[in-house]
Homo-oligomer: 238 residues x 2
């Protein structure tokens, strides 16, 4: 085992982990910080009282967190069902269509320039252990990883809570202040800072660059808010 590089299993594990909870928080919070922020900013271009903006903001946060959370739940559950049904199919196929499945293993290796006589020992080894053979086909033929149990519920909760947490940041100034134009200024300031910090943390965790991701996230939020504000101003004149 090399000492400077992590072992294969730890390697895969770290990829797997970052593709789960971090992704759910990122999904929920990106939209939570952006859309309620932009909506509130947009409405500030059309109304002067914060009361209606708070109602719209809360309605949006409720709708968004339910839509994204339940959406995430069903997506994760769909992944789990898809995996189970594909696995059941592979289990049948290695029994009922043994020759075809053997052929598929040869074809997988041929894509990497491995000749039939070179991959045959692997095939023989897999045929000794049907469960390992099915696992092998799931990963290497279909590229499917088994979803963790309980993943769907955890994913739904993480996304929904992140959305609500993100959405309350831009809305808080409107809740605490009565003038929409003043609350807008505070909301813009606080939310751009929050987007920048969140983007930076996201970039660090996902390995796509702290500063780059901070700037990108701030840019998306700012652009969405500016577009919503401009559209509301424009439409309010009609």
């Amino acid at each position: 085992m090399p000492t400077t590089l992590p072992p294969v299993s730890a390697h895969v594990e770290s990829h797997f982990q970052s593709g789960e909870s971090v992704r759910d928080v990122v999904i929920g919070m990106s939209d939570g910080l952006t859309v309620p922020f932009a909506l509130a900013a947009g409405l500030s271009g059309a109304v002067s009282s914060t009361h209606l903006i708070v109602i719209a903001g809360l309605a949006e946060i409720a709708a968004g967190s339910i839509a994204m959370g339940l959406g995430g739940y069903l997506a994760a559950q769909g992944d789990a069902e898809h995996f189970a049904s594909e696995r059941a199919r592979e289990e049948r196929e290695i029994i009922e269509r043994t020759r075809d499945e053997e052929e598929e293993i040869y074809e997988i290796f041929e894509r990497y320039g491995v000749e039939r006589e070179e991959s045959r020992p692997v095939l023989e080894a897999l045929k000794r252990k049907p469960t390992a053979w099915v696992d092998f086909m799931m990963s290497f033929e279909l590229g499917l990883e088994e979803p963790r149990a309980g993943r769907a519920r955890q994913s739904a909760l993480t996304i929904a809570v992140s959305y609500i947490a993100g959405g309350m940041v831009p809305l808080l100034p409107y809740i605490l202040m009565s003038s929409a134009s003043e609350a807008l200024l505070v909301s813009v300031g606080v939310t751009l800072v929050a987007l920048f910090v969140f983007g930076g943390v996201k970039g660090r965790l996902t390995g796509s660059g702290t500063w780059k991701c901070a700037l990108q996230t701030t840019f998306i939020g700012g652009l969405a808010a500016a577009a919503a504000f401009g559209l509301a101003k424009l439409f309010n004149r009609i």
Copy 2:
């Protein structure tokens, strides 16, 4: 080649395809049909004129499509960058840490009960073709597939357009009618039908069941709208 089962390459291809454009349309339209619908319904519980609901709805659609579209663009671009940097790392490692990488191949096969002497011919074959070796490590060690070129831009556009198309369905009654309570009834009717049809098509395309997915999608939209409506009613009294 079996005649009743598709060849491995077509098999993988169909998985790949359904994981792309269909997923983007589903992502955009699910949220587009749900969140603007729920927001408009929620505001109908607080205001009587449709004017402000249309402004809020348009602001939300602008913000949501930008946030989701650009978010999708950056996510796809991030995937492409991640793939390129991991590939460059693997290319270095098979030269600089040849022994470690050989060890990793043995470990990959050992997980499936394939002994060292059985996987050695595959290792020898991969060593003849360094490019195939790197490809093999990308797929089988890291589980990464190369993103298609131009994927990021196409993904962004598909998500944004789907969001706008979805969001205009619930908003149209408010644009065409002046009474919020009347527009709400039409919007609820039209959107629940749209959610049901969209959910059914989605379930058919993704293979997760036409009727089941139709009911689930309608349920999420209805629940989000009911929650937004109730919250707005409640908060409007305070």
